[in-house]
Amino acid sequence: MTKYKGTYSASRLFDALAKIGYTPESAIQDIVDNSISANASTVQVNFLIEKETSEQGRSKPQIVHISIFDNGKGMNKAGLENALALGSSANEYTPTTLSKFGLGLKSASSSLGRKLSIISKAQDDDVYLAIVDQDAFENDEYTFTIEKLSGESKKAFLKKLSEVGAQAGTEIIIGKVKNENMPSYGSIVTELKNKTGIIYFPILRDEKVKIFINNDLIPAIDPLFRNEIDETECILNDHKWDGVSVKWNLKESYIQLSAGASSEKAILRIVQLPHPPSMNSNKILSQSNARKKYLIDAKNYGIFIYRNGRLISWADSITGLIPRDQDLYSYRGILELESSSDEVLNLDVTKSRVHFSDLALQDLSIQINETKKRSVNAWNFAKSTIREVDTNSDAVKAELAKLAIELEEEEEAEDQILPEADKERVKKAKNTLQTKTPPTEEEKKKVEEEGKPIIYVDALLNNSLWERAYDEKNGLIVKVNKSHRFIRTFEPIFRKNPEATYVFDLLIYSMVRSEYMMLKKCRTDFEAMDKVYTDFREETGNQLSEMMRELLERNSAIFDSDE
């Protein structure tokens, strides 16, 4: 068997590396990762720009070079050789590293420009300059130069180090910038400034590193705004949320990353961020300021995935478990991974795409399915609280309440014209019905507040969907179990369509009224008949719950409403 040495084209290889999938911001951040891995406490990102005038006579800034300077441990000549090798040695990587494949620097810099210069000084060593210039590859082979730096350039670098009190450090300079393939300078810098505080939040929060972009210090921004959560309060109650406070939706859940792998896990946490119109309505912040502060927007809801304290996936939908829905704008979570999980997650070179195992998706879907329902309900509850009087919904409510009173009056009238033999029996039955199941004080108050005889309560015995009660002032009342799976699943639809709520209310009220009337007229064993109705309610509740569970297991999005 004859062996051959593989050939390659350096220019095509670097073209391919450049197209791995970086955006300008993510490429710069990948290089910043190297600085952090080198134990830098200061990282400075600066852009040198010049004005270019277009054919239409408009001037716009063009990037001449991008510089990323740090006071990390620096590199000697051997270190630079390793750094520029394609697939740097894995021995360089610690368990908590942000780096992974040893291709980051080459691919990130190639995506930005065709020339990479590295100035670096390790402790007690000289200053070196390494250059990779794709336009200078000889015979299409990958080559680079390394030399000791001297003269004014060396002085300038040493001055930079002394300004941050460092004896070692590195400066990466990317030149021959591919402006034609990039967004505008303004949008790159804005995006960098807006996102860096979140991307490196754990590291910045702990003040392990300071990052400057064009001399502006980037503050740590917790995507979950946990410092605003009142830990003494319980988690999000989607029927009581005030719309202005940040609340835990899920405080902590362990997600298994793979079956059989050691103890690989991640921790999932989810919050409910404020509802901007509620902030405005309560005169706390204007809507636009609330959106700006909490970054509430179509691209910013979902799960922020962190690896070793650094964000790798922004607002991930977790393979579509979190759908596009503007009622989820307040829904945000973080998933914290460690680098020991890299293999089970099939992390790619850009370290930004995560592939979850079936077991991880099972654990994630359980939590996400429940918390997103809660989030949507809470968002819509907040919306309905501040909504101006919807005359149509209020009119229907008032009509139902009026109808209930009219039916009571009709019933009174009918009772009075009953034959004498039946009057006593009916009176006794009515008395039992009206005193057997009185509503609580809280429930009575709810009836007054709702303005209709149907109220939604936290729970009912035996998972029943509904129960009847009777109150002297309000008459026959229906209690609906809002913890029942049917209600929990359809609530988002009811909130979006108040008319659907009233169709349901009408159906339930008529069923309870029928129960009441049948029992009142009962000519046989009242207790036995009452028991039959109680059992019927329980059985209906359980059957409905089972059917919903079965349907949702087959297709968890079956009842999701369209945007």
Binding site: Y254, Q256, A259, L359, I366, S483, N542, S545, R549
Partner: protein
């Protein structure tokens, strides 16, 4: 092959939360049942070749096996008394859910490398105090038994 059953009462129809622990592959499965054949009946289904063998199905799915050849299995079950106010399947599912979450958390915190294969969705009653306290009791009981087995295996 042999099987050791400590109490015949687990064949009685009642409400149970149970745990199946497999030594190889190292995995556990938490479930609930109100089967006419008790918790033991449900275990039989899990280990059978019928459609109800959910545990086997999960092992095949998550470990990508072509066939399952389980080694030692341990089975614990907790019978829920009538006075515990667990009056519907949804209530029982809520207990099952909380037991799964808490058990997973404790296993990870103790550094055990065991995967939980079962799936249970929220039942809707997780916020009730009796559900929470019952779940914690069940987790404590299961952990006591599991730790006996694990420390025996280590020694």
């Amino acid at each position: 092959m042999y099987c050791f059953v400590r109490s015949g009462k687990i064949s009685v129809k009642a409400k149970y939360v149970y745990l199946i622990f497999s030594e190889d592959p190292k995995a556990f499965y938490i479930g609930q049942t109100q089967s006419a054949y008790g918790a033991l009946g449900r275990l039989t289904q899990h280990m059978s070749e019928t459609y109800s063998n959910t545990f086997i199905q999960k092992v095949l799915k998550f470990y990508d096996f072509d066939e399952v050849n389980l080694k030692k299995i341990h089975f614990f079950c907790f019978q829920i008394k009538d006075d515990a106010n667990i009056n519907s399947t949804a209530h029982l599912e809520s207990v099952e859910f909380l037991v799964s979450e808490e058990f997973k958390k404790r296993i990870f915190k103790n550094g055990y490398s065991i995967s939980l294969l079962s799936r249970v969705d929220y039942g809707g009653y997780e916020h009730l105090e009796n559900i929470k306290s019952l779940s914690l009791t069940i987790v404590e009981e299961f952990l006591i038994e599991l730790e006996k087995i694990l420390s025996f295996a280590e020694n």
